[in-house]
């Protein structure tokens, strides 16, 4: 059935995103990986809306809007860090530990 293929695609995209968040050291690439996960969610929602009606597509619109706001804040914080440390490598953030 067609629905399953979309769900599989979303699952693969989700795994790629999770891998990216865990492995990547560059702050911007981590943000992009989070975006991949959110897009996996959108594919899921739209695929399910073939079963259950429009609600899923409306939800996908909400997700897109919120993701844009979130990435805006995230990039602002990354820029702030870059100005102070001249690097956006997440592993180099080691002020806080214990």
């Amino acid at each position: 059935m067609l629905l399953n293929q979309f769900l599989l695609l979303a699952a693969v995209l989700f795994c790629v995103g999770v891998y990216g968040v865990i492995v990547r050291k560059n702050g911007v690439l981590v943000l992009m990986s989070v975006e991949l996960i959110l897009n996996a969610v959108n594919i899921n929602l739209i695929a399910f809306s073939t079963l259950w009606g429009l609600a899923g597509q409306v939800f996908a619109l909400f997700v897109i809007a919120v993701a844009a706001a979130e990435v805006g804040v995230g990039l602002a914080i990354v820029i702030l860090i870059y100005r102070n440390k001249r690097s956006i490598d997440i592993d180099e953030l080691d002020e806080l530990k214990g």
């Binding site: 996960i37 929602l45 899923g56 909400f62 979130e70 995230g74 602002a76 102070n84 953030l93 214990g98």
Partner: protein
Amino acid sequence: MTGFVAVLAATEDIPTPDVDWSAIAPNLILMLGGILLLTVVSVVRGRLPGWFHAVWTISVATAAIVAVVPLWQRVQDSGPESVLAGALVLDGFSLVVTATICVSVILAALLLEAYLRRERLGGPEWYVLMLLSASGGVTMATANDLVVVFIGLEILSVAVYVLAAMHRRRVSSQEAGLKYFVLGAFSSAFLLYGIALTYGATGSTNLSRIQAFLADTVITQNALLLGGLAFMLVGFGFKVAVVPFHNWKPDVYQGSPTPVTAFMATAVTAAAFAALLRVYVTTFGPTYRTEWQPLVAALTVLTLVVGAFLAISQTNVKRMLAYSSINHAGFVLLGVLAASAAGDAATLFYLVAYTFMAAGSFAVVAVVGRRGDGHHDLSDYQGLSRSRPGLALVFTILLLSQAGVPLTAGFLAKFYVLAAAVESGYTWLAVLAMLTAVVSAFMYLRIVVTMYFAEPEGEPRRPRIPAAAGLAMGLCVVGVLVIGIVPGPLSDVANDAVSQLVAVGR
């Protein structure tokens, strides 16, 4: 083409739901209060006294608490109801959490006033972000739809990401902001994936409809729903920092400006637990309890044990309090795990009591941190009983309350949660929780002993106690002692609030 014109020419109104403005008054007051503050300040820039922002924020939060009272009466008289076409639910539980969030806004605003003055930082943005974040928390606590839970969570979190990174001169503050942001966004994505799977399995994101669907239908293939439940648990788990999703918490609590840490420990925790409880206990409790309870039980064990044991090995007081808040999260989780009316009431009681304990403790930490917000080592507390006896006494009372000593709020909070867990058949977990409470009591007493008996190296410093911070501490101590000595009113409210948790769909 003609079809297109016909569509344009059609004058049918898009159906809109009835908006019951009075039912969402507390949330509206918080949100409009934040936006108005930003507007007013940018219009009359430079002509406002320095205390204006804090007083405005406190008035707005107080007004929101006042707006809760008639709604509470309404719910008591005519029962819980769902408003805005089933998007939000008005019941005792959501109203008490709303009031709790407003109280933590008041306490955090007092701390922030003193803090910003000391650090020579300024601006209304701190208060605006805090009010907007609180409005997101209230949205989350009143949500009756997974979409609304998600949007509330994002409004709450995005504002707090910025607040955590707001201290311009401290790199550790920005580091805390980035760490919180990355893990927060990651966890929201997990939550969202879980919501999508749940939507696929049940055909709705509305909690009352999901509950009704599960009660009516026997699902033969429930892999999707189980996956959804697990992913949502991971998402909520990151937000309330249950082990193994707790790694961010000590770093973020240590790096953030201390008043922001106080806000995170109180408002963010309360809102996230409220949503967790509504989704798992109320919505999936009647039908899927046996599926999620083992998972949550495992998380509770890990959270209690790891939170207590890692706290001992710390030497930074802010990190100690962060780990102790992980241990507290384990106790609250015990109330959620009980999945009964008693468990809900105990959870609510714990959240209210913890608001006073945590806000007060971080108030002391903020004062002792001195300018630069960097003196948080255990050695900075040596000799505090001689240089500032009052401050040491306040911290002692709050720490003893966190440890669960009788006649304080912490004792009863722990007692109710354990009683609810035993009632639901988790005696072994209650015993384990008591053991971890003993372990963390050691950590609290270590701070107390340092304050009273350790010899300071050199002349002990007298940290300045600003009036606003002193007021916040006073409120917290009074709150902790009043709840501890006269628990009747609060536990009555908690019991009334929980009996109406069941959401009603339209």
